[in-house]
């Protein structure tokens, strides 16, 4: 299978006041071939005659060589002549000298002010997109209650299954482990003061008010938010969304609302489930390490958690669901029509989703504190 082709060569020899460069062998871009710089390196600037004496087969590598010789001649202001070369090779070398299309975009990085201006315009455009999507969702809800929305419950139920039931294992596992971690960390500290039983209070309150809804939301931002963005981005790339619009079907009614509704209804249920598993994780550690009886742990947990704690957690969970749904759908609808665009949309959906969850959680902390809940 190995090939033995005549090696490409360029032999330079002095002939009076002219340097004669004879090219021979087979010139292949995938093989070894001489460069003009190497060939001319040890010779002073002088008239050059290139001759294709023993030239065999050739490709773009020969055009590169001829082009480099031509450029060198122009720079050194010496004549370079070509003899016996195929006309097509010269034509290819001419193409290398062709000026770029004037309509082409300028290269290079933008300066600081241009970059700052570009980033500001981008942020403004994204804010408008978000406001527009939220506005369209509000209109869609109004259409739904008037019975005019093109909303399909079948799609919403499928999404509920996907983002709710299918997420139970991962949400359960993470919540259980978070309960274990919190109980273990708390136990080490509280045991020093003989306050072992307060592990139940700490885990119970933290899980129900904060960690349960938060962990469920973060899992769903990564799992469901990214899936929404990838699905809608792919649909946009395949012109499926355009097809809906030309049918007169609102993509917000048909694609966005079932997804947001699914998350809005499923998130509180998942948060309740996460609360149970988190408390169970704390119970396992308390019983195993602190020797607190399970019944005592449960009684202590019940005594510290009231309906306002549960309610705040569930309110947060429902709003986290809305935020994940909006960010996933928004990024999907904003995606560029390409494979890379879909990937970027999925990443952006997760980042935006988690950012919005954390920001809204801190706002809720202030509001609930003011309200005394």
């Amino acid at each position: 299978m190995s090939e033995t082709l005549p090696q490409a060569r360029a032999d330079a020899a002095q002939d009076g006041d002219t340097l004669v460069v004879r090219l021979g062998g087979d010139w292949r871009i995938t093989g070894r071939h001489p460069s003009w710089a190497e060939t001319i390196a040890r010779h002073p600037a002088q008239p050059v005659a290139l001759k294709a004496d023993g030239l065999g087969t050739w490709d773009s590598s020969l055009a590169l060589f001829l082009h480099a010789a031509r450029i060198w001649g122009q720079k050194q202001a010496v004549p370079v002549s070509f003899e016996g070369f195929p006309a097509e090779a010269s034509r290819l070398a001419d193409l290398l000298s062709a000026k770029p299309d004037p309509s082409c975009k300028p290269g290079g990085l933008p300066d600081l002010f241009t970059a700052l201006g570009g980033a500001t315009f981008k942020l403004w455009a994204e804010t408008k997109d978000l406001a527009q999507l939220v506005g369209e969702c509000v209109y869609s809800v109004a259409r739904f209650f008037r019975g005019h929305a093109q909303f399909r419950w079948r799609d919403a139920l499928t999404e509920m299954q996907q983002c709710g039931a299918m997420a139970l294992p991962i949400v359960g596992l993470i919540s259980f482990l978070v309960g274990i971690i919190m109980a273990y960390q708390g136990a080490v500290q509280l045991r020093q003061f003989g306050a072992d039983i307060y592990v139940a209070d700490m885990v119970g309150l933290a899980v129900v008010r904060e960690m349960g809804p938060m962990m469920a939301a973060i899992v769903l931002a990564g799992r469901t938010g990214a899936a929404f963005a990838a699905t809608l981005g792919n649909m946009k790339a395949n012109e499926e969304i355009d097809a809906l619009e030309t049918l007169g079907v609102s993509p917000v009614d048909f694609l966005v609302m079932p997804r947001i509704a699914a998350l809005f209804f499923m998130m509180p249920l998942l948060a309740l489930y996460a609360n149970c598993l988190g408390i169970l994780g704390g119970l396992v550690i308390s019983h195993g390490i602190l020797d607190i009886p399970a019944s005592l742990y449960w009684a202590e947990t019940k005594s510290i958690i009231d309906l306002s704690d549960l309610g705040t957690g569930l309110i947060k969970a429902a709003s986290f669901g809305l935020l994940i749904g909006v960010s996933g759908c928004l990024r999907g609808l904003q995606a560029e029509r390409s494979a890379a665009g879909v990937g970027q949309a999925a990443t952006a959906a997760v980042v935006t989703g988690i950012l919005l969850i954390i920001v809204s959680d801190s706002i809720y902390a202030v509001i609930f504190n003011i309200l005394g809940w």
């Binding site: 299978m1 590169l64 290819l92 193409l95 560029e336 390409s338």
Partner: protein, 268 residues
């Protein structure tokens, strides 16, 4: 001109010998045999679903024939070892129907990638080759554009620049005119002819674009779903006017011949 493997002067550029293409148990094409001469422009034509694209996928190694052999310059591609296969893969380039450009890369990166992976060229030389290839397809100066910023015709030309990056001896085209307006399609045809004339490249085109077939083809191979193989082979004009097969005449004349079919039925 560009360089097929050594010691291959007596062999055709491509040779299919009894190639059978199947998807699972379903045989799409059976015992297909034909050869493509060097520097020839061959069209693989046929009605929808006759297996044109399937045959192309088997020829370029994306699918393995269940029987038969594909040879490039006399060398067995179907049963080649991994190393031999790598070497033979460099003898051909493919322009896919959509252009198949890598969307996360600029045109420069798209065209330079095969050069970066498969040659010893330094960056400056790679950039020069990229500029040459883009100039060859009429996209000089578009190096920093992303595929999403190009029109359909430009994407195809950029895909062709990438297919030509390693100066392959053979270039395959899958439906090059699909989705293009007649003028853009005509320009692409001219480009194909220019590539063949410049570098002596062998061209294989899967298409049913009649204008391109009559304008460009040295020869056509027509596949048929009923015979699961080659129905006719030859010069497109000769086949259009003199083929004994009704389906071939109908296809190339773009009209049905109902009278003959009815009379044939009556006589039987």
């Amino acid at each position: 001109m560009n360089t097929p493997p050594a010691n291959s002067a007596d062999f055709p550029a491509i040779e299919l010998d009894g190639v059978t293409c199947s998807y699972g148990d379903r045989v799409v094409l059976e015992k297909v045999s034909f050869a493509v001469k060097r520097a020839e422009i061959l069209f693989i034509i046929g009605g929808s679903g006759c297996g044109k694209s399937t045959l192309l996928r088997h020829m370029i190694g994306l699918k393995q024939p269940t029987q038969g052999t594909v040879r490039y310059f006399g060398r067995d591609f179907t049963h080649a070892t991994a190393a031999q296969r790598q070497e033979l893969l460099r003898t051909f380039g493919v322009l896919y129907q959509s252009g198949a450009l890598w969307s996360a890369m600029t045109l420069r990166e798209n065209v330079a990638l095969p050069l970066e992976l498969l040659t010893d060229l330094d960056r400056r030389e790679r950039d020069e080759i990229v500029a040459l290839k883009l100039a060859q397809v009429g996209l000089a100066g578009y190096e920093d554009y992303f595929p999403s910023e190009l029109s359909g015709g430009m994407k195809k030309r950029a895909g062709l620049a990438r297919a030509l990056a390693l100066d392959p001896a053979i270039v395959f085209f899958d439906e090059p005119s699909a989705g293009l307006d007649p003028i853009t399609s005509l320009k692409l045809d001219e480009l194909v002819r220019q590539i063949r004339d410049t570098l002596g490249t062998t061209i294989v085109i899967v298409s049913h674009e009649l204008a391109s077939i009559f304008d460009l083809a040295d020869r056509v191979v027509m596949l048929d779903r009923d015979v699961k193989g080659v129905l006719a082979e030859g010069d497109p004009r000769a086949l259009r006017d003199h083929s004994t097969e009704v389906r071939v005449r109908e296809f190339l004349n773009r009209r049905e011949e109902p009278v003959q079919r009815q009379s044939a039925k009556v006589t039987t």
